[in-house]
Symmetry: C2
């Protein structure tokens, strides 16, 4: 259009589209090979060969083997952050987080499908959870996301994360719960987006009751809770 930015390459060029296609093909080939024969059993050479490019080219698109594994996850996380930023400013922290995740899950399906089949994403998720090296990488990424979320929450509440510990503490607790939810889903049988949404929602609703001091003599609590003080 009227966009004269001659910086690198125009967004609609043939070259740009070709690049995007190569990138998507690499992601898809990699995830398919990973889920079929395992992450470590798959070599970069195999992935490159499947897309008919050189190994060197693979490393020009992804700086390492792990990066291609989380390429789709990147999209998902970006989407969550968008949703969080879109929450009304007067909403309290926990409900905002809760709302953002649930809304995000509702829309993520389509975003994923533009690159790979949804079920491949699901299998990838499970493969990550069962590959130690990828679990580690996954957790690290999650942590970086946490920091961004904490900053967002702090800004919403007009706080400084380095002064008031509550944003980081809340986000730490929140994402700890999110991780457990994801793991439980991965170990289950229902490979649908609806299922993970369900688990997420349920677990988030347990975070309050769980920190109660006395768990005994109660059923699974739901909303009302009395909170005893911890003794020194």
């Amino acid at each position: 259009m009227a966009d004269p930015t001659p910086q690198t390459t125009p967004p609609g060029g043939l070259r740009e589209r070709k690049k995007q296609r190569t990138r998507d093909a690499l992601i898809r080939a990699a995830l398919e090979l990973f889920t079929e024969q395992g992450y470590e059993a798959t070599t970069i050479d195999e992935i490159a060969e499947a897309v008919d490019v050189s190994q060197r080219t693979f490393f020009r698109y992804f700086s390492n083997k792990q990066e291609v594994t989380f390429a789709v996850q990147d999209m998902v996380e970006a989407r969550f952050l968008e949703e969080l930023r879109a929450r009304p400013a007067d909403e309290p922290p926990l409900p905002a987080l809760r709302g953002a995740v649930l809304t995000a899950w509702d829309e993520i399906g389509n975003a994923i499908a533009s690159v790979i089949p949804v079920d491949l994403y699901m299998r990838t998720f499970q493969m990550i959870e069962s590959t130690p090296a990828l679990v580690a990488a996954h957790l690290r990424r999650f942590t970086e996301l946490e920091e961004q979320i904490a900053q967002l929450i702090a800004r919403r509440e007009g706080l400084d994360v380095d002064v008031d510990p509550r944003p980081r503490v809340l986000v730490a607790a929140f994402s700890g719960v999110m991780r457990v939810a994801g793991k439980v889903w991965g170990e289950g049988h229902d490979c649908s987006v609806a299922a993970i949404r369900e688990v997420t929602q349920s677990y988030l609703d347990h975070i309050g009751p769980a920190i109660e001091t006395d768990w005994r003599g109660k059923g699974t609590p739901r909303a009302g809770h009395e909170h005893a003080r911890d003794q020194a």
Copy 2:
């Protein structure tokens, strides 16, 4: 002696002691090189050369570069689990966790010193936090520890982790907070055991107040809290 177990090697032999010395020397050399010149900039060959063994021998003691990095951390975590198991059975979950960490920190110093100088451990901790690959590994290890803790808590309370989500949820929140505490300590200036104990304690005491719905119009809350229900 009167010990006829001909299985592997008797626990007091020269061979056994030599092995232990080699192992400790490898740990120490590795951590010193890592903290001085960086983790990635240090090769296994350098470590092996510093202890005057072959590279192959290094890999017979540690299955990979990361393992030697966390050898000391292994001790620390084992100690925490011991302390947790030693807590009185009638103590509620969160106080038990809190008590175990704080007690553990009080005694860990000595345990570490038997292998490496304490300040080397401190510098190692900070190096880990500033090396992405090690952060990832650290988090994964932490997660595995979490699962063990959740099982312990569940047993204490007579629950099944696969039925009642509260043990995992509490532990997730708890260790999320622990991780943030460790990170904050690593970024600070006071490299003492007392300091991390301090931060840990303070953060654990914030976990309850942090999940309150309304943070505004309050100072840093301490114990009393009203908990509004989240809207659907």
